[in-house]
Subunit: 129 residues, 3 copies
């Protein structure tokens, strides 16, 4: 936790995807100070035409490299989230050549009882985490 | 924002998908009075057997054309959401021939700090939006 | 409602997927006491490398059979959710041979006005449900 969904167009190699996920996870660990193995990532690759991402009038266009990162997480402060956006965008740029206008993020918040990491238990409730 | 996920079975053409997304976006713009370029849509097409959508006992069956629209958004009133359901269902019917029983919608709400539209910034927090 | 998303790696047969969805739905019905036809399930199968699921330091490894179940629901008590985790994990083990460490669940909560099951109506608001 957090759980991150990545939606992007087809075309990246396995290695490029791996690098992208590694970079994103670094941003998670730095922004939220979570353990290194607090890593839950799911990628869905889409055919052209299956993602339409505009700009709410901010005045830019996205390329075919655009990525949507949807994060599901227990509560994090607005400051931590903003750190995450900055770190994620910087790392995806440096490590994967993703342009800053091609990184979109949306967060959704849940609670401690909303997670079971395995074994049918809610580890935040049992005291295991 | 909002961000909409569309899940449906394989079989629509690219043009049919485009029309469907255009119609859905019209409903978003009308129901929530957002800018025309406040458009964030992701489609995932599934093989048969990967979507099971029943009726909670309401008394109808869905066809293979059924669509699930999951909307992630900052707060909207119940009235606006109900307008959206009506508009979306009507437009998908008129423009795409989708039957009213084949349109299912679920909304999830987040906050202003939960969105970064690009550049590593939270544009609702920076004053850009 | 609830709406469940299942993310897993490619490789299960159609029959195996059907059994898995049936078992998961039994857990939903038992844990939340919902009607049998309150069934909304979406499966997305992924290629290797598209799901990275670790353990937050709990001390286990997952296999290629690992499943992420993401549940979107109106409010349920922590006790009901914990029942669901237990039942789901047990049933997926018994019926599908999924190991307990391979079942991860995350829940997200919304409200009554957030659902339209068809016909452009919010059936929890209209009194139909």
């Amino acid at each position: 936790m957090p759980l991150l969904r990545f939606d992007l167009l087809e075309g990246r190699t396995d290695l490029e995807l791996q690098t992208l996920l590694d970079a994103a996870h670094e941003a998670v660990v730095e922004a939220f100070a979570v353990p290194a193995r607090d890593r839950y990532q799911i990628v869905t690759e889409h055919k052209p035409g299956r993602m339409i991402l505009q700009d709410t009038g901010l005045g830019f266009e996205r390329s075919a490299d655009a990525i949507v990162v949807q994060m599901f997480t227990s509560p994090r402060t607005p400051e931590m989230k903003q750190d995450f956006y900055r770190l994620l965008t910087r790392k995806l740029g440096e490590r994967c050549g993703v342009a800053p206008e091609d990184v979109m993020v949306s967060c959704m918040t849940n609670a401690r009882e909303d997670w079971s990491f395995g074994f049918g238990r809610a580890q935040f409730m049992t005291g295991e985490l």
